[in-house]
Each structure stands twice: as structure tokens, then as C-alpha cells.
């Protein structure tokens, strides 16, 4: 019981912290800056707690506490670490961001915390309705964060698009849950696992349909190919730190639950491999093709996010369900999150008031005036492109290697090809930053937070690359 409590501690900290922040803000007892500090403290504490708990290895299904609706494994532990880290750095860069864009409110931080709470639950949830609810907790907070800047019409448009399509998929998720409930008389994962193990996946049509709807919902959230269209606009519309948060933490959480659900049983996974195979290819190349045409950095990053989803799907296809550790997926997520968050942190203090600098052209000659920021951004871009010795390279290494090991040579080669294609737009930004003369001085009255965040993440890019995992 004690142990269980320790495992839940991060969730509790985050949840309680969120409520606390909300209340303090409601009564106006909290300045914006201190709110950000508090938020960072919450994430820091939770992170510490998670790190401590992550030392202990065994799988803990909360039979007694939550009737087995939650389950903690190493996978969820590390996923939680990543999410909390993302939250921490988002809060950190938001502080500098709101120095220039003055629409920040204290609730902002509490919403981030709520979202993180939902994500943590989502990673741990071992039952469909729990998953649904935590998904909604996460999503609703994110919706609000996306539309947080009430004065800007694009934010409103973004939230419209995201909310509408999100709710739409939510409906599918609910329906899927209903179908599975109908088929198996329960929505618990282990019931599904045992059912698939005994009769095979295709035995009960209701299960097939339900799983299909649910996987569709996940694919939507991670912006896999046919369901990706929203992501570019929403990232573009929402404010930079939020975009960073969405791009990293949300993707981590959803991929965690996605993997958990898919790896319940080899039969279940085996049934979806073919579709995921094609979807991942489409996602990689579709993402590249969207990215190449973009003039705005945020849109480019959104599109490259689609590409990385493609790689993660490769990993999903490649990892074997019977001895699933998810180390590859998590490593890739960590590497990707670090570099993405890094770029968004840098953008959050470079883009200036009202995000005036959003296009490639606006960053011409950055290296002349702000060499260190330019260097950091370059590092992040190289990591995304998978150039050694960065974390991104090792991530690709693990993904591709596991794909080859799983016999998916085609997928591996196509993955490499798509990373060649992705060089185009990453290099474009580097070239703009370095090889042109500066039009402006990139002045921005920013606090130390976001630059510090950038620095830490830049170091992390190399640090993570040195951390070995087992396939």
C-alpha cells in the first residue's frame, strides 16, 4: 500500500497542485511570475517523486485501490517522467513568453498542470473509460490553453478546429468503448487481453469495431496521416509554449496509452501491423511534403511533428508485443521532446511581442546577433534531423534497428529516405540563421528563464544520446 502510494505520489502532487493553483488564482492571491515558479515547483516535486518511484521496477496493477483500472509499469514510469519534464520546461519558458505577450493569467499554469495530470493518468490507465476520462481531462485543458489568447482570432480558430475535431474523435472513442463493453462485458485491458488470447482478435466483431474506433482516436491525437490535417493549423494558431507542450507531452501520453493498448496481446497487435505499416509510411512522407512548403517555422515544426509520429509508428510496428518494454518508443519520445521543447523555448523568447517573428525569413542572420541561441536551435534541428552525436540520431538508430530486427527492412529504408527529405527544411532554417546578414537585432526584454531552459535542453540533447538502452 505504501509502495502504491509512492507510485501515485506524482499524480497526486500534480492534481493537488493544479487545484491549488486554480484556487489561488481565483482569489487573485498569486502574481503571474510566482504562479509560474509554483508550477515549476510542482512539476519539479512530481518529477523527483516519479524518479524515486522509477527506481523500483515491478508492475503494479492497482487491484485493491482502483479495481485494476490503473497500472504502473516501467513504461508508464518513464513516460510520466517525460511528461513531467515537458511540463516543467513549458512552465519555465512560458514565464519569459508572457513577459512579451501580455495575455497571461495565473490560470494558465493551473491548466498546464491539469493537462499534465490528465496525461499521467492516461499513461497509467488500464481501462477504457479511465482512459477516456483522463484523455478528456487532458484535452479540455489543452483546448483552453490553445485558445488562451482571447484577443487573437487565429487562436479562436485554432481552438475551434481542435475542439470540434477532438470532440468528434471523442465520440468515436466513447462508441468504441461501448462496443467493446458490449462484446466483452467489460472495458478492462486485462479482460480484453485474455479475450484476444483465448479466442483471437477477429473472433468478436464488436471487439474489432471498438478497437478500430479507439485506435482511430489515438491516431487522431498523434496526428497520423489521414487524420493529421488539424495539427498544422492548431499548432500555428496556439501560443508558442502551448504548442511546445502539445507537441511533446501530449504526444508522449497518447503514444504511451496507444502502446499499452496495442501491446495487450500479440494477436491484437498483429491484426493492426499491416495498417500501421501503411499509415506510418504515409505519415512520414505526408509530413515531409507538408513541411517542405511551409514558410512559418511553427507550421514547419508541426509538420515535422507529423513525420516524427511516423517514426514512432515504425517503432510501434517494430517492437514485439510479447516481451514489450517500449524502451525504443520512450527513448525516441524523450529525444524528440527534448529537441522540440528546446526549439519552442528558444522561439518563445526570440519571436518577440505578438509572435511577430514566425517566418523563416524573420530569423535571417540570427547567428550574427545572438550566436548562442542560434547554436542551440541548430543543435535541436540537427537532433531532429538525426545527425550524430545527438539524441535524435540515437533515437533513429534504435527505431530503425528494431525495425530491421523485426524484418521490416522496407520500413527502415523508407524511414531513412524520409529523414533525407526532412533535411531540406531543417537546413533551410539553419541557413537562414547563419548564412544571411541580420535585418534586425532580435531584441527582446526576456527573463533568464527561457534561455536557461534552452541551454539545459541543449545539454540534454547530448546527455540523452549517451544513455544506452536495450532493444
Amino acid at each position: 500500500m505504501n509502495h502504491d502510494f509512492l507510485l501515485l505520489l506524482p499524480v497526486i502532487i500534480v492534481g493537488a497542485g493544479a487545484v491549488l493553483l486554480m484556487l489561488r488564482a481565483a482569489f487573485g492571491k498569486l502574481a503571474l511570475d510566482s504562479a509560474s515558479v509554483v508550477c515549476m515547483c510542482i512539476f519539479g516535486l512530481a518529477f523527483a517523486a516519479q524518479a524515486c518511484s522509477a527506481l523500483a521496477g515491478p508492475e503494479v496493477p492497482f487491484k485493491a485501490a482502483f479495481n485494476g483500472m490503473l497500472m504502473v509499469t516501467d513504461f508508464t514510469r518513464v513516460a510520466g517522467l517525460i511528461i513531467l519534464g515537458c511540463g516543467f520546461f513549458t512552465a519555465m519558458s512560458s514565464r519569459s513568453y508572457f513577459k512579451e505577450n501580455r495575455f497571461g493569467l495565473e490560470e494558465y499554469y493551473s491548466l498546464i498542470t491539469f493537462a499534465a495530470f490528465g496525461m499521467l493518468l492516461l499513461t497509467m490507465s488500464h481501462e477504457l473509460m479511465t482512459a477516456f476520462i483522463s484523455l478528456e481531462i487532458m484535452s479540455l485543458s489543452i483546448y483552453i490553453l490553445v485558445g488562451f489568447n482571447r484577443r487573437c482570432v487565429t487562436c479562436a480558430e485554432a481552438v475551434l478546429k481542435y475542439l470540434m475535431l477532438g470532440a468528434f474523435t471523442g465520440g468515436f472513442f466513447a462508441m468504441g468503448t461501448a462496443l467493446i463493453y458490449g462484446g466483452l462485458k467489460s472495458t478492462k485491458f486485462e479482460v480484453i487481453a485474455s479475450a484476444v488470447a483465448t479466442h483471437g482478435f477477429l473472433h468478436t466483431p464488436a471487439l474489432v469495431g471498438g478497437a478500430f474506433f479507439i485506435i482511430f482516436a489515438f491516431l487522431f491525437k498523434v496526428a497520423a496521416f489521414p487524420f493529421h490535417a488539424w495539427v498544422v493549423d492548431v499548432y500555428d494558431g496556439s501560443s508558442i509554449p502551448v504548442t511546445g507542450f502539445m507537441a511533446t507531452a501530449l504526444k508522449t501520453a497518447v503514444f504511451a496509452i496507444f502502446a499499452n493498448f496495442l501491446m495487450l496481446d500479440p494477436g491484437l497487435k498483429g491484426a493492426w501491423v499491416t495498417y500501421l505499416f501503411y499509415i506510418s509510411i504515409l505519415t512520414m512522407f505526408g509530413g515531409n511534403l507538408i513541411a517542405i512548403g511551409q514558410g512559418s517555422i511553427k507550421r514547419m515544426l508541426a509538420a515535422s511533428g507529423i513525420v516524427h509520429t511516423g517514426y514512432l509508428l515504425i517503432a510501434l510496428v517494430a517492437v514485439s508485443a510479447d516481451r514489450f518494454t517500449g524502451s525504443v518508443i520512450l527513448y525516441y519520445l524523450a529525444a524528440y521532446s527534448v529537441s522540440t521543447l528546446g526549439i519552442f523555448a528558444a522561439l518563445s523568447y526570440l519571436s518577440g511581442a505578438g509572435e511577430v517573428r514566425s517566418q523563416f525569413e524573420d530569423f535571417k542572420g540570427l547567428a550574427r546577433t545572438r550566436p548562442y541561441s542560434a547554436a542551440a536551435i541548430t543543435i535541436f534541428l540537427l537532433s531532429m534531423a538525426g545527425i550524430p552525436p545527438t539524441a535524435g540520431f540515437m533515437g533513429k538508430f534504435y527505431v530503425i534497428t528494431s525495425a530491421i530486427q523485426a524484418g521490416q527492412v522496407t520500413l527502415a529504408v523508407l524511414g531513412i529516405v524520409s529523414s533525407i527529405l526532412s533535411m531540406w527544411y531543417y537546413l533551410r532554417l539553419i541557413i537562414n540563421m547563419y548564412f544571411h546578414d541580420a535585418h534586425e537585432s532580435f531584441e527582446s526584454e526576456c527573463t533568464v528563464f527561457a534561455p536557461a531552459c534552452t541551454l539545459i535542453l541543449a545539454v540534454a540533447v547530448f546527455a540523452i544520446s549517451l544513455y544506452p538502452i536495450t532493444l
Binding site: F393, Q405, I416, M423, I431
Partner: protein, 504 residues
């Protein structure tokens, strides 16, 4: 320090470069530091050279477990194949720092990083480690060309970077495949080059992996028809970048073919050697012909360099000891001669503010020392006996004749082709009447003379008394040749087997 002599040769420059990048140093301070570091590396290199036995195996081996889970080790070592490329870089770098002064600190930092990375790529004994250095050594060049290049620099940068990265990423896929194949065959993970040789590869996937490797190296060398990035990059890039590209990086492509492709893909190599050889010799003639049409001396030198690389590549694929030793020797010879030529071109460009041959003339009268040095380097590059250029070219042609008469004869034409454009250029730049532009050409300063002397001395010494160098190269070359011959015998045996099967 001396038990980790290679590591220190690799990381001393890299760390120095990073320090330069991250700390506010004046450009003169940067230059001084770069000079000191490169000289220190040179000293280490000389120590290594003197300590090198040359029995054919790896020496000065350093081996540390890095990623135990995947058998990726930090393995370094030097043998007769890598030694001279390593030394070429080590010897040539200080002279760059002596010569070029009027640039920002990033110039020196990038050069230092490139030097370290190239040393790493040459000494790496582990595929992953090699790949890491292989990619890292491109980055400084990317920034050098982009930051300090000419008008068309951005196009050139994009072209070279995308081209090379495309190649090397495909090689990466091949490397992963090798790793997995090794794991499947022996049950353990390893990317060690020596272990890889034990790998049994067959089927289309093996051929694809072979192509992946060859493509990366062919682009780097560059082998016809993958050379199209070269003229732009060499021409637009600053002199030092061009120097590094032509003198050392291209050679690392050649080196990599010997180091990786021959041992690992022996069967495929022997099967496709003829095609490669033809590509090499065609490239030699193609670029030689293209060179005569150039109005821009830097671009002309670029094509001439590509042309020579064609010959060097040819030497790899002739599969006999003379040709292989020849091209290994020629690697160093070409590094010295073409490297020097590009440095001279850089000086010309810097002082004359033009790259047009037509704008120049009569420099020999103005700057006899410069003219003489240039002439020596030029004669070496056209392979005049008594200079380093002759030995390698002669050996390669000799080997080519044995391998395939047609190729040999075509390779021989390099004697003529090279001389045509070189003399043409030399006449228009150094002879004839001087114009108001070249009137005020300043002859080499003492420092520059000092910087060039070692290169020129090397050119002459290697031409007159090459045996010591060859003695160090030959054993390693012989090992490679033996593996090739073994593969050929195996192939013949298989053919025979199939033949008998057909008879049945």
C-alpha cells in the same frame, strides 16, 4: 597522453574548436590557439608515425565499451591504410593556420573540428563510431562554405550537404542492417569492423547494403556520376574548406572503401569492381575534359582534383597489389599536391580579388617564388617523375594494365589530359604580359613560405625516395588484396559448382 595518442589527436582539436566557438576570443587569439593545437597534434602524429611498426595489423588500439547493450564500442586504431591519411591531415593543417589570416574565429574553430573529426573517421574501428565522425566532419565544412563562401555559397552548401547526407544516411541504413545481420548470425551485437569481416552476406539485401556503402563513399570521393556537387562546393567554398575537402575528405571516401567495403562486401566488391573501375576512369576523363573549359581557375582545379580522384578510385578496383598500393600512395601525393594548389588558388583569389583566369597573367615575373612553388605543385599533380605524383600514377596504370588493358590504356591518357589544362592555366596565369591587376601582386611572405615548405619538401621527397612510405603501406594493402583474391577464388568455386550442377 601517449597511451591514448589517437584519442588525443582526435579530441584535442575538437575541444579546442568548441572552446573557440563558445568563448569570446579575438580572431588573432583564435588563430594562435589553432596554430598551437595543430602543431601539438602534429607532434603527437610524428610520435605515432615513428612508433608505427607497419606489420599490417591495427596498432595503437584503444578499445572501451560504450553501449554494451548493442555492442557499440569506442574502438580506435591505425594501420598502414589509415596512417597516411591521418598523417596527411596532421601535417597539412598547421600550414593552413599559418597562411590564412583575414577571417573570423569561426573559421579556425570549424577547421579544428574538421581536423579532429577526420582523424576520428580515419581511426575509428567501430562502424557506429565511424559513422558519427563521418557525419560530424561534414558540419564544419557546411558552415565554412556557408559563412565564408562566395556569391553562390548557399546553393553550393545545400548541394553538398544534401548530396553527402543522402549518401551517408543510406549507408547508415546499411550499417544498421549489418548490425542486425551480425546479431542474427552470432547472437551478439557488434559493430566492430574486424568482427564484421566474419559476416556471411548474400542475396539482394546484401547487394543493397553494398550499394548503400558504395554510394556514400562514391559521393564523398566523388566518383562519376556523383561528382556534380564538387565544382560548386570547391569553387564557392573558402580556400581552407576547399583544401580540407580535396586534400583529406575525398581521401577518406577512398579509405573507407578499402576499410569497409573490401572486407565486409568482398563478394559484391569483386563482382562489381569492373563497373567501378570504369566509373573511375570515365570520371577521370570526364572531369579532365570539363577542366579545359573552365574560365575560373578554382573551378578548373576542382575538376582536376575530381579527375585525379577518378584515377585513385580506379586503383582500388584493379584488385592487385600495385594498383592498391599505388592509390594509397597517391592519396598522400594528391593530398599534398592538390592541397597545395588549392591553397595557392586561395592566395591568388585573396590578393587578386578574382577567380577569372582571363583577369590574370604575368605573375611569374612579379612573384617568382610563388610561381616556382605553384609550378612544383602543378608538376606533381600532372605526375612528373621525381615528384610524388609519378609513383602513384605509375603504379596505378601498371596495375590497371594487368587488370584490364582497355582500362589501363584509358587511365594512361591521364598523362596527357592533365597536362593540357594545367599548362593552359599556368600560361594564362603566370606567363604572358602582366596587367594592372597583377602588377601589384605581392610575392609570398616569409610565413607563407614557411607554411608551404613542408608540403613542397614532402612532394619532392616522396617522389625521389618513396620506399619508406611504401614499406609502411604495402603490408596492409597486401592483406586487403589477399581477402579479395580469396573472395575471387570462392566466387570461381561457386561458379564451377553451378557449372557442374548445370551439367547434371
Amino acid at each position: 597522453m601517449f597511451e591514448h595518442i589517437i584519442s588525443s589527436m582526435i579530441f584535442l582539436p575538437i575541444i579546442a574548436g568548441l572552446i573557440l566557438l563558445l568563448t569570446p576570443v579575438t580572431k588573432n587569439g583564435a588563430r594562435a590557439m589553432a596554430l598551437v593545437v595543430s602543431v601539438a597534434v602534429l607532434i603527437l602524429g610524428l610520435k605515432l608515425y615513428t612508433g608505427f611498426i607497419g606489420a599490417g595489423g591495427m596498432e595503437f588500439v584503444e578499445n572501451y565499451v560504450w553501449f554494451p547493450s548493442l555492442g557499440i564500442n569506442y574502438t580506435l586504431g591505425v594501420d598502414g591504410i589509415s596512417l597516411f591519411i591521418l598523417m596527411a591531415g596532421t601535417v597539412l593543417f598547421p600550414s593552413i593556420f599559418l597562411i590564412f589570416t583575414t577571417k573570423s574565429k569561426g573559421y579556425y574553430a570549424n577547421l579544428l573540428i574538421a581536423q579532429g573529426a577526420m582523424a576520428g573517421a580515419v581511426c575509428a574501428g567501430d562502424l557506429m563510431l565511424f559513422y558519427i565522425f563521418w557525419e560530424v566532419m561534414l558540419l564544419p565544412i557546411f558552415f565554412m562554405i556557408g559563412l565564408f563562401g562566395g556569391e553562390g555559397k548557399i546553393a553550393a552548401t545545400l548541394k553538398i550537404t544534401l548530396y553527402t547526407i543522402a549518401g551517408s544516411l543510406l549507408m547508415l541504413a546499411a550499417i544498421f542492417y549489418l548490425g542486425v545481420a551480425f546479431h542474427n548470425q552470432f547472437g551478439i551485437w557488434s559493430f566492430n569492423i574486424v568482427n564484421m569481416a566474419a559476416l556471411k552476406l548474400h542475396g539482394t539485401v546484401a547487394v543493397l547494403a553494398f550499394v548503400g556503402f558504395m554510394l556514400a563513399f562514391a559521393i564523398k570521393i566523388p566518383l562519376f556520376p556523383f561528382h556534380t556537387w564538387l565544382p560548386d562546393a570547391y569553387t564557392e567554398g573558402p580556400a581552407a574548406a576547399t583544401f580540407v575537402l580535396s586534400a583529406i575528405m575525398a581521401k577518406i571516401g577512398v579509405y573507407a572503401v578499402i576499410r569497409f567495403v573490401i572486407p565486409i562486401f568482398g563478394a559484391e566488391f569483386t563482382r562489381y569492381a569492373l563497373i567501378m573501375a570504369y566509373l573511375g576512369v570515365i570520371g577521370m576523363m570526364y572531369c579532365g575534359f570539363a577542366a579545359i573549359a573552365q574560365k575560373d581557375f578554382k573551378r578548373m582545379l576542382a575538376f582536376s582534383s575530381a579527375s585525379h580522384m577518378g584515377i585513385i578510385a580506379l586503383g582500388l578496383f584493379c584488385m592487385n597489389i600495385q594498383a592498391l598500393t599505388g592509390s594509397l600512395f597517391q592519396i598522400v601525393a594528391h593530398a599534398t599536391s592538390t592541397g597545395a594548389l588549392f591553397l595557392f588558388a586561395g592566395i591568388l583569389e585573396e590578393r587578386m580579388q578574382t577567380r577569372k583566369i582571363a583577369d590574370l597573367g604575368g605573375i611569374a615575373g612579379r612573384a617568382p617564388v610563388f610561381a616556382m612553388f605553384f609550378a612544383i605543385a602543378m608538376l606533381a599533380s600532372v605526375g612528373l617523375p621525381g615528384t610524388s605524383g609519378f609513383i602513384g600514377e605509375f603504379l596505378i596504370i601498371l596495375g590497371a594494365i594487368k587488370y584490364n588493358v582497355a582500362i589501363g590504356v584509358l587511365a594512361g591518357t591521364s598523362l596527357i589530359i592533365g597536362v593540357c589544362y594545367m599548362l593552359w592555366m599556368f600560361q594564362r596565369v603566370f606567363f604572358e604580359k602582366s596587367n594592372e591587376r597583377t602588377e601589384k601582386f605581392r610575392d609570398l611572405s616569409a610565413a607563407e613560405v614557411l607554411a608551404f615548405l613542408p608540403i613542397l619538401v614532402l612532394i619532392i621527397v616522396m617522389g625521389i625516395y618513396p620506399q619508406p612510405f611504401i614499406k609502411k603501406i604495402e603490408p596492409a594493402a597486401r592483406i586487403q588484396i589477399n581477402t579479395i583474391l580469396h573472395n575471387m577464388q570462392v566466387a570461381d568455386a561457386n561458379a564451377l559448382l553451378q557449372g557442374t550442377n548445370l551439367e547434371k
